[in-house]
């Protein structure tokens, strides 16, 4: 006889303003099981998490704990049942110490009126031990790296006698190495009998750690089963509802392609040193490295955002002095930043304005007046060409999904007719379907003769787009490999 599952979701439905966010979704999580909830943005994952956490009531369906259907389901009930959610923002107190962040919960539920710092530290130490990490107890949470914040949040959850930990996109902001560490911790928790509901759209992680996979699409459960029953292409198909072309998007330079960019001896003290490479027309070049390897600094330097201390850059065979983004743009270099939300887009401004903001000069007529019709037509052209999904170009960019926002950024740079485009982590935080499309766009751009540099630490992203890959470690280029290399091999070269 098998014991009832820890958590059983039965026929959950939820609508917002007449739109079905969840439609008859059900699955179970057993003790010590790692279940992955996969789905693209807008598939209903967040709604489901909120319902399980007690933050929102379901319109229909029920939740059973240990086989008992629950009548009341408030956040407090969820906590009492041993369900802890680690939200994307971790819900930490940025101003408090690690110790307090972990232990405050305990002190509060114990009903203490006064605070005993010795006890707080002891509790915190116990929590960190259970996670198996060592983080200075007195450090302010605000100053911790993202990965450590997450570990603090996990330690806190464990101390509340968590039987099920729900992690919402836990790996988005982590580096490859940190992700591996997190997955190790999840395995440890599983061995301790703690269940984990893991929400992600990074497919390799899903296969790496999960026992069971549940796929949501448009609010419906479209597939569920053990991890062994899925492979990358079937999972992708379930998530997107279509076959993502398995064709390679890598673009190598033609034999007679002209050299667009040559970098020699480029040095910035404390960031990178003696960087040399070349880029040909129509080529997609990858530059990868772990956090702190200098890849982001290099990308910024190439676009004139950070001044360099030495070395030279030549564009089209002629030396180019690039001291500012204006210089870079004048030489036909475009840059799409990593955090597209904060660095690249004016979120509250219309889509059209965001696309044409770089080309205003070209549409300025006599007397400095703007040619509004020209601008509008240009914006429309790019929206069509890049398939930005929007009812109107006049809507603000923040109304778009992540993938579509990324396309707007691309459109902005293409509108400036660049010769060279630097993409920093182009598919960070983008779902699988959009990811493949962005890779296809990148390939399309390369086919149009633009030289492209993709900078990222996301190995599948690099391998999906680049024919040639430079590996950076400690500020230097230590390796050059072809895009045919295996993911494991590349990961090894990054870290060793």
């Amino acid at each position: 006889m098998t014991s009832p599952p820890l958590l059983d979701l039965i026929g959950l439905s939820k609508s917002f303003a007449g739109v079905r966010a969840l439609d008859d979704v059900g699955f179970a999580i057993a003790k010590g099981e790692v279940v992955c909830l996969a789905g693209e943005n807008g598939s209903g994952k967040s709604t489901l998490i909120k319902i399980v956490a007690g933050a929102q009531p379901a319109d229909a369906g029920s939740i059973a704990i240990d086989g008992q259907v629950q009548r009341r389901w408030s956040p407090m009930d969820a906590v009492r049942a041993g369900i802890q959610v680690i939200f994307q923002d971790f819900a930490l107190f940025p101003n408090l110490s690690v110790a307090e962040n972990i232990a405050l919960n305990q002190e509060l539920s114990a009903g203490h009126r006064f605070i005993n710092w010795k006890a707080v530290r002891a509790v915190a130490r116990r929590g960190l031990e259970r996670v198996g990490v060592d983080i200075p107890l007195d450090q302010t949470a605000e100053t911790l790296p993202v990965a450590d914040k997450q570990l603090v949040a996990i330690a806190r959850a464990l101390l509340s006698d968590a039987r099920l930990i729900i992690m919402d996109e836990p790996t988005t902001a982590l580096t490859e190495r940190e992700v591996r560490h997190l997955l190790d911790i999840i395995r440890r928790l599983r061995d301790d009998g703690v269940s984990v509901l893991f929400v992600s759209h990074k497919l390799n992680e899903v296969f790496d750690v999960c026992d069971k996979i549940v796929v949501l699409r448009n609010g419906r459960r479209v597939a569920a089963g053990t991890a062994a029953e899925f492979d990358i292409s079937s999972l992708t198909r379930h998530m997107t509802g279509r076959d993502i072309a398995a064709e390679s998007h890598r673009r190598a330079a033609g034999a007679d392609a002209r050299e667009l960019l040559r970098v020699e001896g480029l040095t910035k003290h404390g960031a990178f040193a003696d960087i040399a490479f070349s880029l040909k027309a129509g080529e997609v070049l990858g530059i990868t490295g772990l956090l702190g390897s200098g890849r982001t600094q290099l990308a910024k330097a190439l676009f004139g955002l950070t001044p360099v201390d030495g070395g030279c850059i030549a564009v089209d065979g002629r030396p180019a002095a690039i001291a500012s983004p204006q210089d870079a743009i004048a030489h036909g270099i475009g840059y799409v930043p990593e955090d597209r939300l904060t660095e690249g887009l004016f979120l509250s401004q219309p889509i059209a304005a965001n696309i044409v903001v770089g080309t205003v000069d070209r549409h300025t007529g006599g007397g400095g007046l703007l040619d509004r019709h020209g601008l509008k037509a240009e914006a429309r052209r790019w929206i069509d060409k890049l398939k930005v999904l929007t009812p109107s170009p006049d809507l603000p960019v923040q109304s778009l999904s992540g993938g579509n926002q990324q396309r707007v950024v691309l459109a902005r740079w293409l509108a400036t007719n660049p010769k060279i485009l630097i993409l920093n982590g182009p598919t960070v935080g983008v779902d699988v379907g959009s990811k493949a499309e962005i890779h296809a766009i990148v390939a399309g751009l390369a086919d149009a003769g633009i030289g492209i540099i993709v900078i990222s630490d996301d190995i599948p992203e690099i391998l999906g787009a680049c024919a040639r890959i430079l590996v950076m470690r400690a500020g230097r280029i230590t390796d050059e490999v072809s895009g045919e290399v295996s993911a494991d091999d590349l990961a090894l070269r990054l870290a060793s």
């Binding site: 956040p75 407090m76 819900a91 930490l92 107190f93 940025p94 101003n95 408090l96 307090e100 405050l104 919960n105 002190e107 509060l108 539920s109 203490h112 009126r113 006064f114 605070i115 100053t143 790296p145 982001t296 600094q297």
Partner: protein, 328 residues
């Protein structure tokens, strides 16, 4: 640069030392017990108010109405004591003034914790409302025959000395209230869950609510506490000045908030220390009381305080940018 060197407390302390050195070089008699006592006495009002403001800033809010609360409590309490002929008990005087302060603080709390309105808007409104009500309905004449208890209190000195010329210098007993407020506030902030809840709410309101802190209760406490401190500070002010002037105190908001921000409390909430706040108060009091010696015209006083505020608020932002650059 080690991290402690860029902390607000250290920088403010260094500025204080520098200012003292310069003033002492110009006028060697600056370094005297008389000066110290004068500064302490002049720091009581600002100090008490600043402790309250610090608590509000830590909790993630801002209060600009505390001066109006202090003026209202002080004046209404004095008037009650005089009219009812009960001006012989100092304890009663303080209870009435602090009680009025508490009630006015509760009005703030009602709007902020009860209706969830933004703290700046609410307290800007109550600043004006409390002050208007005081002048229009309570009274606008100053009361210079303050009750005997207050008059005696103003003459009550903790320490009294005589200088070379035979004149007195003295430290009023009222300074004990500042010391008590510091000790009590320290205990609340660092030894009670209530205190930690103030930090937690200021650090992340949502996270605080999520782990079960009663955010509203915390806010009610904070604004009530500010009211009590303001009422107490107001009565001390009126006693020491031996006059209850309804147009006193209001107008000090900027200086007090400046002192607290200089001491490292952040307008975005979650951060603030008592040491820092006291250092900030010291600096503001020092600036206000060394201009004649330094030969700086009084109009420059405001320029200097403005500059200090920019320094105090700009520094943490600048440090945050430095940190971000290092991590990138």
């Amino acid at each position: 640069m080690p991290s402690w060197a860029t902390r607000n407390e250290v920088i403010v302390a260094l500025v204080i030392v520098a200012l003292c050195v310069v003033t002492a070089l110009i006028n060697p008699s600056f370094l005297s017990l008389a000066t110290l006592f004068d500064m302490l006495r002049n720091g009581i009002l600002i100090g008490l108010l600043a402790i309250g403001v610090m608590l509000v800033l830590i909790s993630g809010g801002i209060d600009v109405s505390f001066t109006a609360i202090a003026a209202f409590s002080m004046y209404a309490a004095t008037m009650l004591l005089v009219d009812l002929g009960i001006g012989d008990s100092l304890l009663l005087a303080f209870l009435i003034s602090a009680g009025i302060g508490l009630s006015l603080g509760m009005i703030n709390a009602l709007f902020i914790a009860g209706f969830g309105l933004p703290t700046l808007i609410v307290t800007l409104g109550t600043l004006s409302a409390f002050r208007g009500f005081l002048l229009a309905f309570v009274g606008s004449d100053l009361i210079s025959n303050v009750p005997p208890a207050m008059r005696d209190f103003s003459r009550s000195m903790l320490v009294r000395g005589t200088d070379a010329a035979g004149y007195f210098y003295s430290l009023p007993t009222a300074v004990l209230f500042l010391i008590a407020a510091v000790v009590i506030t320290w205990f609340i902030l660092y030894r009670t869950m209530l205190g930690r809840s103030i930090f937690a709410v200021g650090g992340s309101r949502e996270a605080a609510a999520r782990i079960g802190f009663n955010v509203r209760a915390t806010q009610v406490f904070v604004y009530g506490y500010v009211g009590v401190l303001a009422g107490t500070a107001g009565l001390i002010h009126a006693s020491l000045a031996r006059v209850a002037n309804p147009s006193d105190i209001v107008g000090l908001e900027l200086e007090v908030i400046a002192a607290v921000v200089l001491g490292g409390a952040r307008l975005t909430g979650g951060y603030g220390t008592i040491t820092g706040t006291l250092l900030g108060v010291t600096l503001i009091v020092l600036v206000n009381n060394t201009l004649v010696t330094l030969g700086i015209p009084t109009t420059w006083q405001k320029v200097m305080i403005g500059f200090l505020i920019l320094l105090g608020t700009g520094l943490p932002a600048f440090q945050a940018r430095l940190r971000a650059n290092r991590m990138g």
